[in-house]
Amino acid sequence: MAPLAVISLSLCFLLPLLSPAISTNSEGNALHALRRRLSDPTNVLQSWDPTLVNPCTWFHVTCDSHNHVIRLDLGNSNISGTLGPELAQLQHLQYLELYKNDISGEIPKELGNLKNLVGLDLYGNRFEGEIPKSFSGLKSLRFLRLNNNNLTGSIPRELTALSNLKVFDVSNNDLCGTIPVDGPFGMFSMPSYANNMRLNGPELKGLVPYNFGC
């Protein structure tokens, strides 16, 4: 009895001692953290082996010649779950393609740190909450498709700073307020905003509050 008890005590201590000191690179860790958040009934993430030196040989992950992740292609992959702040560690990411899945929860504001992101396709999921204001930091962003989700709140006016934005689609959400008119928003047509029952047409500076109807 007594020796057994001592063993149970010392086990707590020995466990960390036995674990080897293996560290992989941050991009692999970030993707592996993403995998842990996701439910993957069709095993599209099966090849994501965290013990490899980098994630560049994982399926659905594309790297550049410096072994930095530049594409993540998980569109239409039957995955569900949520996204987390760790995706912001993919500092070289250019395309984040997570469209047409069953991903829910809020869009992590940390995604706004992805300075190299060109295309962000989150359409056709169950994202809720607001469009992060931090997206104004996506200086390279050209394509932003958030349509067919359950997003609420207003379109952050900060997005008018995205001078490279070419495509913007937030249709089929539950957004409210008015639509910005500055910067690239002068260019987008009405279908980009369709089916947001509480969205009230173009911003009328000074006449109507920006968040009118929210």
Partner: protein, 979 residues
């Protein structure tokens, strides 16, 4: 079972045994002999412990038997640890005079029969550590004289019988390590003499009965590893004799009752692995006898208010894995403390290194890992002179490592990883003769690795991964004879590997990757016979490998990628247990050794970007575990051996950029797990095998730059997971199969530079995820561009140039708002470019027949050039229209002027001409603008569109709108003027 039944039964037993005693009278030991010989015959006795049981000897001399003083009765039977098996013989229950029955530590099977109740003289019953199954019989409650009952470590299931409460003489009750379920019977409280109660490792559930407080003699209560729930009963505090209380690994909830402080004799308290919450009660400070305290893995919160100055007998404190906050009290310890182990890992402790601990000079193991501690490590840390293990990893400690650490002469394990420690390793570290493990990884440390470190003769593991250490690896590293792990990855180390490293003969893992190391591998590496993992990637190593590496038979993982190694790779094939070999991007030459096939567990073989020649050895087909085969960018020749078709687990097959010849193998279609197939830039001939359609998991298929001919097989449509398809630069002919529409996940499609003919199938418009590029250029495609291409809303690059496409350009292409690059040049297209194309350079459209509109010339110009007669009438029309409208405008203006003039005259008296002036200016400006647009023909697409519509369709909406708004404005103005 109700009590009347029990009493009736016991009456019957008493009666029966009386008759027995009467009938056998004083001859009972010989009767016992009779039963015992029957027992012997029924037990399986491989060790022969019962050999002495024979009528030739007196019964009292038989092995394991003890007789009464008068040798009349057998009073004890002890056959413990005798490898006996079989079930308990029924004859045993006739030995009614037995006081002690010990069959423990055997292999006895079957159940404990109810007849055990006949042994009413039993004081000690030991059946533990057998294979007994079934339930504990209720009749055990008849053994009223029982003092010691130990029947645990069997497979006994079901509930603990409540009749156990009848055993009022019981002092020891051991029921641990079985499969007992149900709750602990409240009748346990009847056992007033109980000293030792062990219920560990069962499946007991329910509450701990409050009645337990009646067991006033209880010294040891262990019920760990069950499923007990509810709160710890406060009444437990009445067990004044209790020395050991172990309730670990249950589902106990609520807070720790403060009444527990009544256990004034408690020496050991273990509550780990429950769901206890609330704070640690301050009253625990009253448990002055306490030596070992484990409250880890609960949800305890609040600050640590337990003080070693009260609990001077404390030796072990474990609070790890809770939600404790704050810092450790500064008066935690006295100088004469007995505290040896303090584990506070995985909490939310904050503040600096707890200086209050420095008085605990008795401390041997200190674990503060995974907290929020910060600040520098105190130089006085060497006051913990007995410390063997210091675990401070996963905190936010900063500053440098104090040189005084060299005074902690007993230190064995130093874990400082995942902090923000800066500075260099103090040379004093070399004084630590007991140091076995030093983990400094994931910090910001710099400077060189001191040679003194190699004085730490006991070192087995060094991990400095992810720091900024520079300089070279100490030349004396070979002094570390016990080194098993050397991890120096991701630093700024330079220079060669010291040859003495080869003398670390116990080395199993060597990781020097991601540094600036250079030179060649020392020949002394042949002594590293235990080496299993060696990773040297991303350095500047060069030269051929020493042949003697061939003697390293235990290698499992080799990664030498991204260096400048040259020569043959044969020295790396000595092991038959390789699982991963990665030599990507070196200058290795020679052929691929067939000997690699002896490592039948090889999963990843990557030899890309070298100078390898010869053909792929067919022996590689033996690698049944191969997942990743990358031989790309070499000088390999010959055909791909068909034996590779037996590598059925292949997921990545990369043979591109070599000189492979022959037909593209059709067996590729049998590789069901294939996700990536790159055969591009070779000399493959023949057709694209239709069997490839069976590789349904294929994500990337790249066959470009070969000599493939024939049609694209329609089976390509079966690749429903495909993301990338690249067949460009071949001799493919025929039409593009419409089945391609089923590849719905394609984001990149390149079929350019072939001989493809016929129209572009309109089904391509269903590939709505096409994004990176759709390249069909330099083929013989004809017909019109299908308007469905306008559905490719995500497409960023479209190249249809150098084909024979004709007809009108479909206006739907104007919807392609994502397009960044567009090339429609050198076709026979005509018609008007969508306005959204105006930003592309003219070269995107050059070499066509009749395309017009920005950025090309306007369609009016081109139209006028062709039909002179028609255009002259149009010109007449326009002139007439202009004259007409300007006349109207003039008339209107005159009218307004007149009205204004009239009003002016009226208003002059009241002196308010402001609004009127504005009105005039506005009208003038609009007028001017309209003329400017009219003159400036090549201004903007917008204007061009308006003009053309005016010219061709005079009564267009747009026109109406302009004029109506003009009138509206005028009306407004007149109103204003009217006021």
């Amino acid at each position: 079972m109700d009590s009347t039944q029990i009493s009736r039964f016991s009456l019957f037993i008493t009666f029966f045994s009386c008759i027995l005693a009467f009938s056998f009278g004083d001859n009972s030991s010989s009767t016992d002999a009779h039963w015992l010989l029957r027992i012997k015959s029924k037990l399986v006795d491989p060790a022969g412990v019962l050999e002495s049981w024979s009528l030739r000897a007196h019964i009292c001399s038989w092995n394991g038997l003890t007789c009464s003083h008068d040798e009349a009765f057998v009073i004890a039977l002890n056959l413990s640890a005798s490898t006996l098996s079989g079930s308990i013989p029924t004859e045993l229950w006739n030995l009614v005079s037995l006081q002690t029955l010990d069959l423990s530590l055997n292999l006895i099977t079957g159940s404990i029969p109810p007849e055990i109740g006949r042994l009413r003289n039993l004081r000690t019953l030991l059946l533990f550590a057998n294979n007994l199954s079934g339930k504990i019989p209720t009749e055990i409650g008849l053994l009223k004289k029982l003092q010691v009952l130990r029947i645990g470590d069997n497979m006994l299931a079901a509930q603990i019988p409540r009749s156990i409460g009848n055993l009022t003489e019981l002092r020891v009750l051991g029921l641990a390590y079985s499969q007992l379920n149900g709750s602990i019977p409240a009748e346990i409280g009847n056992l007033k003499n109980l000293v030792f109660l062990d219920l560990q490792h069962n499946s007991l559930s329910g509450f701990i009965p409050a009645e337990i407080h009646n067991c006033e003699e209880l010294q040891n209560f262990a019920a760990s590893n069950n499923m007990l729930d509810g709160e710890i009963p406060a009444s437990i505090g009445k067990l004044k004799s209790l020395q050991i209380l172990n309730l670990a690994n249950n589902s106990l909830s609520g807070s720790i009752p403060p009444e527990i402080s009544g256990l004034s004799n408690l020496q050991y308290l273990n509550l780990l692995g429950n769901r206890l919450n609330g704070e640690i009660p301050w009253e625990l400070n009253h448990l002055v006898q306490l030596q070992k305290l484990d409250l880890s893995s609960n949800n305890l919160s609040g600050t640590i208010n337990l003080l070693n100055i009260h609990l001077q007998n404390l030796q072990v404190v474990v609070f790890s894995n809770n939600a404790l906050t704050g810092s450790i009290p500064s008066n935690f310890c006295l100088k004469n403390s007995n505290l040896q182990q303090l584990f506070l890992a995985q909490n939310k402790l904050s503040g600096g290194f707890p200086l209050g601990l420095l008085n605990c000079s008795s401390l041997q193991q200190l674990d503060l890992s995974n907290n929020n501690l910060e600040g520098e490590l105190p130089p006085t840390i060497d006051k913990l002179e007995n410390l063997t293990d210091l675990l401070l990893n996963n905190n936010s400690f900063n500053g440098s490592l104090p040189p005084e650490i060299g005074n902690m002469s007993n230190l064995e394990n130093l874990y400082l990883f995942d902090n923000m420690i800066t500075g260099s390793i103090p040379v004093e570290i070399g004084k630590l003769q007991s140091l076995s493990t030093i983990y400094l990884y994931d910090n910001q440390m710099s400077g060189s690795i001191p040679m003194e470190l190699t004085n730490c003769a006991s070192l087995t593991a060094i991990d400095f991964f992810g720091n900024h250490f520079s300089g070279s690896i100490p030349e004396t590293i070979g002094k570390l004879k016990d080194l098993v792990l050397l991890q120096l990855r991701q630093n700024d180390l330079s220079g060669p590997i010291p040859p003495s490293l080869g003398y670390c003969k116990k080395l199993q893992q060597l990781a020097l990757a991601d540094n600036k190391l250079s030179g060649s591998l020392p020949a002394t590496f042949r002594f590293l016979s235990q080496l299993s993992t060696i990773t040297l990637y991303n350095n500047s190593f060069e030269g051929p490998l020493p042949d003697s590496l061939y003697s390293l038979r235990n290698l499992k993982i080799i990664n030498f990628s991204h260096n400048k190694f040259s020569g043959t790779i044969l020295p790396l094939t000595g092991s038959n247990s390789l699982t991963a070999l990665d030599l990507t991007n070196n200058s290795f030459s020679g052929s691929i050794p067939s000997r690699l096939a002896i490592s039948t567990n090889l999963g990843r073989l990557r030899l890309a970007n070298n100078l390898l020649n010869g053909s792929i050895p067919s022996e590689l087909g033996r690698l049944k575990e191969l997942i990743f085969l990358d031989l790309s960018f070499n000088n390999l020749t010959g055909e791909v051996p068909s034996q590779l078709s037996t590598c059925q687990k292949l997921q990545h097959l990369l043979l591109n950029d070599n000189h492979f010849t022959g037909k593209m193998p059709s067996w590729l279609g049998s590789l069901q797990d294939l996700g990536e197939l790159h055969l591009s830039s070779n000399n493959f001939q023949g057709q694209v095998p239709a069997e490839l359609g069976n590789c349904s998991r294929l994500l990337k298929l790249s066959l470009h730059t070969n000599n493939l001919s024939g049609q694209i097989p329609r089976e390509i449509g079966q690749l429903t997971s495909l993301n990338v398809l690249n067949l460009q630069r071949n001799n493919l002919s025929g039409s593009i199969p419409p089945t391609i529409q089923q590849c719905k996940k394609l984001y990149e499609l390149r079929l350019s530079e072939n001989w493809l003919s016929g129209p572009i199938p309109s089904e391509i418009g269903k590939l709505t995820e096409l994004q990176v590029i759709l390249d069909l250029s330099r083929n013989l495609l004809s017909g019109e561009i299908p308007s469905s291409l306008g559905d490719l809303l995500k497409l960023e690059r479209l190249n249809l140039s150098f084909n024979r496409l004709g007809g009108e350009l479909p206006s739907s292409l104007g919807q392609l708002t994502s397009l960044v690059t567009l090339n429609l040049s050198n076709n026979h297209l005509r018609g008007q470019l969508p306005s959204t194309f105006s930003g592309f350079p003219p070269t995107s459209f050059s070499g066509n027949d009749k395309l017009c509109g920005p950025p090309l010339t306007s369609c009016m110009d081109s139209a006028g050039h062709e039909n002179n007669i028609l255009s002259s009438t149009a010109v007449v029309c326009i002139i007439v229209a202009i004259v007409f409208t300007s006349t109207v405008i003039c008339l209107v203006m005159i009218y307004i002027m007149l009205r204004m003039w009239c009003n002016m005259r009226k208003v002059l008296i009241s002196n308010s001409s402001e609004g009127g002036g504005n009105g005039i200016e506005q009208i003038k400006r609009e007028d001017q603008e309209r003329w400017m647009y009219g003159d400036e023909k090549k201004r903007k697409g917008e204007y061009w569109r308006v003009m053309s519509s005016m010219a061709l369709v005079p009564s267009q909406n747009h026109d109406d709108h302009i004029s109506s708004s003009c009138i509206f404005q005028v009306k407004m103005d007149t109103k204003k003027l009217g006021i």
